[in-house]
Point group: C2
Chain length 337, copies 2
């Protein structure tokens, strides 16, 4: 592996000049710059990451903490992770993958060792034990998700309250009066992840304004549990004419069950899903849906964290506005028999 010194010798300049050509931190004459760049290319030089980190105390690495749990919809996590990685590369940074397994200790370790310059934390819970550590840490961090108390933190998330409200508005327009929310797995609520509750709040309060009735049932997402939930819903509220589904795994089973029960979508029942577009498009009926902007969240998280690394102080909370795409699964409420 070629070293900076070798490049310097090859180009007939000093080491510092090569360094400055690389960093652009002081002006270099066109001529020497070209000579140096040539040498770099010819020797196939890549700066040594360790040496650079040691001398500059910047590793050009961003740590990404993903949850170990698997009860959330995994493709969304993956999409965020990939967006983070590619966006970070655009800023000349790499991404270190931390699983939740180490827990809060990972935060300490990475910060203290200087392994990463900053940290992005996914799947934040309302009362997350990593949050106090992050708040006190000398290294910048950005959360994807909203903890109970975001004071002193930087967070990005989809505006789930607005998402719920948007669903309510859309269904109200079609004259629906009885709405059922097929929610996330019970464990998600028990863990108080926040987003599920916020969706529900937004939907409920807007529904009230529209004079709609709402019931909510958690759903594990398997075929069996979806069947159970659906049965209970129509038993308790036979006039239910619209379903809002927040558990992506339940989408497929639910549509299959409705078909089986002879309930046509959207003639008998309208369905709005909160899910990635891919899921909405692959379903047996193209679903009206509010998309989870996974890429956008990853991208934003990196931009916020880079801002902090560079000493700027971004807005503490960034809520991405939801977008509802009307497809084939929603329509007017059936007129009373």
């Amino acid at each position: 592996m070629a070293t900076l010194a070798e490049v310097a010798r090859h180009a007939g300049v000093s080491a510092s000049t090569v360094s400055y050509v690389l960093s652009g931190k002081r002006s270099i004459s066109e001529e020497t710059r070209l000579r140096v760049e040539n040498s770099i290319r010819e020797l196939g030089y890549h700066p040594n990451a360790g040496a650079r980190a040691l001398a500059s105390s910047r590793s050009h690495i961003i740590a990404l903490m993903v949850p170990l749990r698997t009860d959330m919809y995994v493709p969304v996590m993956m999409e965020i992770a990939i967006a983070v990685a590619t966006t970070a590369r655009g800023f000349g940074h790499d991404v270190l993958l931390l699983t939740g397994e180490e827990g809060p200790e990972a935060v300490r370790r990475v910060a203290a060792s200087g392994l990463a310059d900053a940290m992005i934390v996914m799947d934040v819970e309302l009362d997350d034990e990593r949050v106090p550590l992050l708040r006190d840490s000398a290294r910048p961090s950005v959360l994807i998700g909203l903890p109970g108390d975001p004071a002193g933190l930087t967070c990005v998330d989809l505006d789930f309250t607005a998402t719920g409200a948007l669903c309510a508005d859309h269904l109200a327009q079609f004259g629906h009066k009885d709405v059922a929310v097929i929610g996330e797995a019970a464990a998600v609520y028990r863990r108080h992840t926040g987003f599920a509750e916020r969706t529900l709040d937004g939907l409920r309060s807007r529904a009230r304004e529209h004079g709609m009735r709402v019931i909510h049932r958690p759903c594990e997402g398997s075929y069996e549990s979806t069947a159970g939930v659906l049965a209970r819903v129509f038993e308790e509220r036979p006039d239910t004419s619209a379903l809002v589904v927040q558990n992506e795994a339940a989408v497929g089973p639910m549509l299959a069950l409705l078909r089986q029960q002879g309930r046509a979508v959207p003639e008998d029942v309208s369905v709005v899903a909160i899910c990635p577009d891919q899921v909405a498009l692959q379903a047996s009926v193209q679903l009206t849906s509010v998309a989870i902007p996974a890429q956008e969240m990853g991208r934003q998280a990196v931009e916020l964290v880079m801002a902090k690394i560079e000493g700027r102080e971004p807005a503490p909370v960034t809520l991405l506005p939801p977008r509802l795409t009307v497809r084939a699964s929603t329509g007017p409420a059936p007129t009373a028999p």
Copy 2:
């Protein structure tokens, strides 16, 4: 951040002693070891990653290259990635996440900069452009997947040939004569990822021995495409009594469609899936399946790569044996009408 020198002073020993306590590379008296460990704890010392990497030319980082594409079943990728990360931590290593985006250049960059000590590459194609680079690279690497020519490489993968054969055996036992394979998306075959072809080969040749007829149709996995594939299958081979499904996304739609068509599983049609257990268990009929051992693959990949880092030379190809779990979706072939 405390430095090693500070720890040394605090413990009343030399820097090298602290270093050796940390690395265990030479024997230390019980007494000094304890004193040093205490100081480390008291000062909350974590070795500086950059300095360590520079001095030892080992970053204790393993790069993991994940595909950018999203036409493979994402949860499996994620599960492998998480298994890699947690296993690596057990070896005192961290994982750097590289997306396919940079392409082969990432291999060069990471190797030359010393950012990572080794590399694990997922979703390897039969004729992968990263493979020659990896083969020539000074840094160890392990592939998850099997390229066309594994010479000079280290690879782990599920034994897909055996997987196909296993499916054939199981169905033959039940007296099935006409089998249809619902395969991966056409793009997967076009890309020559290998595993899909190997499954098919294994299944076909074993089927021949059993006197079974096999047809194979690629399937995109959406409800619509699954419907089309299924229709064509039963049109061409009305006597088809068993389905082998290799595209996880098609599982849900397929079961829904069969139910709709009045084909009972397993009375009229047996179904074997090649998919993660979670998918097999969440389906409307508990599926007889061959599991994708994602965790095991991740774990093995790390162990192989660690062996190479430590100078050992592991077996070039590790094929994990498939395991078929019998559940509710397979049974005797229906007797001719």
